[in-house]
Subunit: 184 residues, 2 copies
DNA sequence: AATCTAATTCGATACTTGTCTAATTAGATT
DNA sequence: AATCTAATTAGACAAGTATCGAATTAGATT
């Protein structure tokens, strides 16, 4: 889960918590001692330790009056090793809609009836629109140039530009000799 | 400097910024595309990218209309490798007053005239007080028991307990046969 | 030169969170 | 059993920041 990674970074994104980790890397300390060393109230330190414990970086053992906290160095090494592993990077992206950009462009350029307001001048947007338009053609079926123009006409009057760009971006193929087009 | 490490963790302590890193790990993107993919406004994405650029994780190259951002994978590997190195851990602790705890305990237990209100019952606090009291003795000089009691009397009437604890915690030594004490 | 576009910057708002004080809890000492 | 002590929890406040809309900037296209 991606939340776990965020929680980890959030836990270490504070100067005082980093100091606690640094101190515990030297030796275990009680809450009271840490509070004195960092010039903070015990309740504040307790709160910080809870967050570090939440990600498994520290743990406590009670000893008479005191709660002695110690660093789990194994966990530290473990976490740091594969923080930016392929798996973690992929996990952060898992719930992203890959077509969101195309959808947004289509939403901006297409009327309710499906026709285009204009043909985008920007490359990235033109590509998105062409991917939308090309869906009107069946894969592997041959179309005459006349038929192609008829279909493209439903999107925009400048059928010649649409046709040329579709071929230019490789979304449709054209037979060298004859006037036939197809989508692969 | 420790600030640099905090800045690094803060930069990654946000779900959307982690998603940006994850996306750029696959391929470069423009601000506009990232905004659509994350369902955020371009201004927000611009802000996030600025923070990531601040720690050297991403960089931009302009390409026609667009600012195409890419991940610096070298920097990523580099940072993650020695995030929790000895040097970094030590850096976070560098400006901490190691005597803060002792000072606090002394402040709590010692009157303005230097005498003790009570002798602490808690081990850690007793240790701190004993380290304070033992300073009254010169190193490597021999003291008779009578002289020891005289000195300790300025701190607390229960000189026997103080004397015993000083020896018990190894802060003062006692010659087996005679009644002589010294601090090493 | 004039116009258009993506990106950035600025100002405002809402939410998160670090810190403190006060109250409560868990445990040990007497 | 009664009393202390360290730690935690709860509540409140203040500082930091993620996000947005509006204004501005840098650059490319016509």
């Amino acid at each position: 889960m991606s939340d776990e990674i965020v929680t980890f970074f959030k836990a270490l994104a504070d100067a005082n918590r980093l100091k606690i980790v640094g101190l515990l890397a030297q030796q275990p300390y009680s809450v009271e001692e840490l509070a004195a060393l960092l010039d903070l109230k015990a309740s504040t330190v307790s709160h910080h330790l809870a967050r570090l414990a939440q990600i498994g970086l520290v743990s406590a053992k009670t000893e008479s009056y005191y709660n002695i906290y110690q660093l789990d160095e194994k966990a530290l090494q473990n976490k740091s090793r594969n923080l930016f592993s392929q798996a973690n990077l992929a996990a952060s992206v898992v719930d992203i809609d890959a077509d969101a950009y195309d959808n947004k462009v289509v939403k901006d350029y297409v009327r309710k009836d499906g026709s285009l307001k204009t043909i985008p001048a920007q490359r990235k947007k033109l590509e998105a629109i062409l991917r939308y338009v090309v869906k009107a053609f069946e894969a592997n079926k041959r179309y005459s140039e006349k038929k192609v123009n008829e279909i493209l006409g439903k999107y925009h009057e400048d059928t010649a530009s649409l046709r040329r760009e579709l071929v230019g971006y490789g979304l449709m193929k054209r037979e060298g000799g004859g006037g036939e087009y197809w989508r692969e």
